[in-house]
Symmetry: C2
Subunit: 332 residues, 2 copies
């Protein structure tokens, strides 16, 4: 019940180091694991530790608004870097901001486009960081959910120079209101991160740390992930199946073997904000791609979450969405 260590409950840090080593090929010892209240606090602390006001930082475009907010709050000058089928375009990043101090990336499953950063880009990114003495913020927000192929190794695991700060969260694999995440800091930065964590929040809520440590060590966590992975894969299949008959010519679902949502591309010329409003009017909650974008995207898209709904709800949702989009298309 006393004040805990700012870095969190030691047995939980040990359990996370072992888990990440086994499952994500993250190289770390428990000292490097710093508990935070979800990835948002991880991003905020990292931005404040790594950046001085006015420093440049790469941000994926489209990308995660929470990371953008944390970097801006630390005084960063944002450099949007486009994303394509291989993930973030590292060469474009170097052209636009070779002198950046930080690159924020989601290599396992790009947010929101769902692409995986290719190996050649991973190596190029690490090479740039090494030369530029820049830091890479790897946000692995939903890396646990991969439905086909082998689990992907983390970027952190490829990094031989301690340039990657890896951020993970239990919000997706357990539940959001738990507010539990972690930073894996390079050895040289452990002290700075622990001190920053102490300034922003003094210590951790130990009750939840102790519960989650037991949950992992007793095997429930691995079992829970397996169960949810099967459930989510089934739910994604339901959406795809229903979409085949309902969404043809209206929304082109991108293949995605990971994560908790799907990107659907709209026909050329359809504004995704208009589509979003039309969907909302039909009771379907989606997010337009432009909400995550700095620069205008060539084609509009909608982000569809599917993990929190039952098959009957998903089928109905796809049909309602089709109805909404048919109304739109006839107006294009």
């Amino acid at each position: 019940m006393r004040y805990g260590q700012p870095a969190g409950y030691r047995p939980l840090r040990e359990a996370i180091a072992a888990y990440l080593g086994a499952v994500r090929a993250v190289h770390c010892v428990p000292d490097q694991v710093i508990m935070v209240s979800g990835s948002q606090q991880g991003l905020d602390i990292a931005a404040r530790v790594l950046l001085d006001p006015g420093d440049a930082a790469w941000i994926e475009d489209p990308g995660f608004h929470g990371a953008r907010a944390a970097l801006l709050a630390a005084g960063a000058k944002l450099i949007p870097v486009p994303v394509d089928r291989e993930g973030v375009d590292v060469e474009a990043g170097i052209r636009r901001g070779n002198n950046a101090r930080v690159a924020y990336v989601t290599p396992s499953h790009q947010f929101p486009l769902g692409t995986t950063l290719s190996l050649s880009r991973r190596l190029a990114l690490l090479k740039w960081a090494s030369k530029a003495k820049a830091w890479i913020l790897e946000d692995d927000y939903d890396g646990e959910f991969r439905y086909a192929g082998r689990p992907l190794a983390s970027l952190q695991g490829l990094d031989g120079e301690g340039r990657v700060i890896y951020i993970g969260t239990f919000s997706k694999v357990l539940f959001p209101s738990l507010r539990l995440g972690y930073i894996i800091a390079p050895m040289d930065l452990i002290d700075a991160f622990v001190k920053a964590r102490a300034i922003v929040t003094h210590a951790s809520s130990l009750m939840e740390h102790a519960i989650v440590a037991d949950f992992i060590n007793e095997g429930h966590f691995a079992r829970h992930i397996r169960t949810m992975r099967t459930l989510y894969a089934e739910r994604q299949a339901v959406v795809r199946e229903e979409a085949k008959t309902e969404l043809g010519g209206l929304l082109d679902l991108q293949s995605d073997e990971a994560g908790m949502d799907l990107i659907g591309w709209l026909p050329p010329g359809v504004d995704d904000r208009v589509a979003f409003r039309q969907a909302a009017a039909h009771g379907v909650e989606v997010t337009p791609l432009s909400a995550y974008s700095f620069e205008r995207q060539k084609r509009g898209a909608l982000r569809l979450g599917y993990t929190g709904y039952k098959p009957t709800e998903l089928r109905q949702g796809v049909r309602d969405l089709a109805m909404a989009l048919r109304g739109l298309k006839s107006r294009v």
Copy 2:
């Protein structure tokens, strides 16, 4: 289990608004209550919302190191303001930094000296803030524990202009590892504080919010405070009684009708850092006043915590401390 509101669980915010209104004469509606993970996060968020890098901020001297760290991390230029028997010296603050943007104060029970800010100083502070368009950060970290006289009204309750940001915590009245505190924001600043809270931590851990809301609403909280107040008053009395026979001429315990620790003044010329090390060598954990000070204090002092120990432990602790200090005095 979903993401909660950044400001926290509504029923808990309602319970806190009602409690603070009744017990601390804080004027607020539930919308003004923003839940944070303890007063340290409250200070960090407030410093970042209220200050631009380079802005001046008053800090009590001696004062709370956690507040100093949060203000420095936000880029503040610190202005140490001395504390005397009436609390922080507002006139000295105005002389040293009339143009400050923020004044950090602990009016109910100055940390660490234990004095209460006098009414005339309270009014002077509010008048200065109004004229200077400055903000007052009122840290009410242990205001619940007052053993004699009527409970003190908060500074926030005297403020007619919305210049006071009140910060409270459950770390002292419940337990530290809970990591639960709150900011009472002026109406004009609610949006800014809620947005800042969303950037630094996204949302709150709702499980603990719901538990504490029930704990308050079912009457356990008020009963718990009464019980602990009696217990702590008894423990303080034990220390005083033992000190009468043991610490005469070695340590002059300051009278203090509130809080969770006592200040003991050392004989003139005794360095409190030396006394601290000597006490530690005798197994007694105390903090030297100079650890909380910017400028050299005229007289050394030790801060003694007493609430977490049983009477037999307290008596033994006082005897061990006396032994440690006797060794010192013979060397002065």
